[in-house]
Amino acid sequence: MHNPLKILISDDSLLLRKKLREELEKIGCQVFEAKDGQEVVEAYSQCRPDGVFMDIVMPKVSGLDALKKIKEIDSTARVIMLSSTGTASNLLEALKLGAIDFIQKPYNSTQIVKAVNDIIRKES
């Protein structure tokens, strides 16, 4: 029996964390949550997830700064950025920092499942 995929989600929105958790648990993932950019970096060190879904605009530490810190902790970290909107420079910065995907809100189940498959593919 396989261990469930460990996914860390980080968004300051309670609604989005709840919805994303439900989507991920539906496909058998074990979910960890963080509410801001500072928490997600600490949580990453503690739970060493297989993948991270992270909002770009977050309090305390932005999603991009958190991505940079996570990559310093683990250069192989698989991070997917979420955004309701942003600038081209944000997208470029996220890709440069090593994000594997960038999902526009509001997202749907198909996009989440595809992103999880990308995480699995990168892992194998």
Binding site: D12, S13, L14, L15, L16, K18, K19, V57, P59, S84, T85, G86, T87, A88, N90, L91, L92, L95, K96, A99, I100, D101, F102, I103, Q104, K105, P106, Q111, K114
Partner: protein
């Protein structure tokens, strides 16, 4: 910003690799979008017609626009629209994809078409209709330079109500008194232009909005309800930014706030009332 949304779409669809997206984003500013791609984007020409004009350019010493006019593919009016749009440069990413050989014109035309359909960007005529209806119902001071922006914003906000709250909103007269004990949901958009938008309503109306938007059973103005009202505005404003980006205007969204008794953002503002079918919402916009 159109480039960014289009780049995200292509990335999410797995049509090219993240490295290729990065490569195109990095050099897109140096690229001038050619009329052929603009014409495909506007729906004036098919990819095959553009290829045909490119082929003719090898045999006659004429520019793309001249050949398109000679062949009757474009009218002079359409050509002027394309030349105006060329200055906006918002399709640079698509041009770069073709220049780098990551897609051919036909593939780009197909992907652009899907992108616009899935992002509701092809509903411009629907939006124009919305806007014209609003124009007949609301009159703003012509001296306010943001009048058109307000009409655009109200159109998008009403459409977000239809799409996310499953109801048919009606515009009603604005109230000029702000009730200080109400929750105010606000967000700023800054960039090529500045727009602050806020809305407020009685708790029972906000609660119903939160329920409809989230699909959750919410019975009091708790954290989930407050968060859901903020997310509704955030997503509506995100769609507004996407539409503006298609007109070549770049805007960044700031984090939304939901605060009880807060003042509306900005000094002077434009206000409208909206009857949602489940109660009244007061929407306030402030330009800079």
């Amino acid at each position: 910003m159109f480039s960014q949304f289009f780049a995200q779409y292509i990335l999410n669809k797995g049509l090219i690799t993240p490295a290729q997206v990065q490569e195109c984003l990095e050099c897109r500013r140096a690229v001038q979008v050619k009329l052929g791609i603009l014409a495909i984007n506007q729906g004036f020409l098919t990819a095959a017609q553009v290829e045909e004009i490119h082929r003719l350019q090898h045999t006659v010493d004429k520019r793309f626009g001249e050949i398109a006019l000679d062949e009757g593919y474009l009218s002079e009016e359409q050509l002027m629209i394309l030349l105006d749009t060329q200055e906006n440069g918002h399709l640079n990413f698509g041009q770069t994809l073709v220049d780098k050989g990551f897609m051919n014109l036909e593939q780009l035309a197909h992907v652009l078409d899907n992108f616009k359909r899935e992002s509701n960007l092809d509903q411009r005529s629907d939006l124009s209709q919305f806007k014209e209806n609003i124009r007949t119902q609301l009159t703003f001071s012509k001296e306010d330079k943001n009048v058109e922006l307000y009409y655009d914003y109200i159109s998008l906000f009403l459409r977000a109500i239809v799409r996310f709250l499953d109801t048919s909103p009606l515009l009603i007269s604005a109230t000029h008194e702000q009730e200080l004990d109400r929750w105010v949901v606000s967000q700023s958009m800054t960039g090529d232009i500045t727009l602050h938008s806020s809305f407020t309503a009685e708790d029972s109306v906000l609660l119903e909005l939160a329920r409809r938007y989230s699909g959750e059973e919410i019975y009091e103005m708790n954290e989930l309800a407050i968060d859901s009202t903020g997310e509704f505005l955030n997503v509506a404003n995100g769609l507004f930014c996407i539409n503006l980006s298609n007109m070549g205007l770049d805007l960044d969204l700031h984090p939304q706030t939901v605060t009880k008794g807060a003042a509306f953002l900005g000094k002077s503002h434009c206000a409208v009332g909206i009857n949602t079918g489940f109660g009244r919402i007061d929407l306030v916009m402030t330009g800079a």
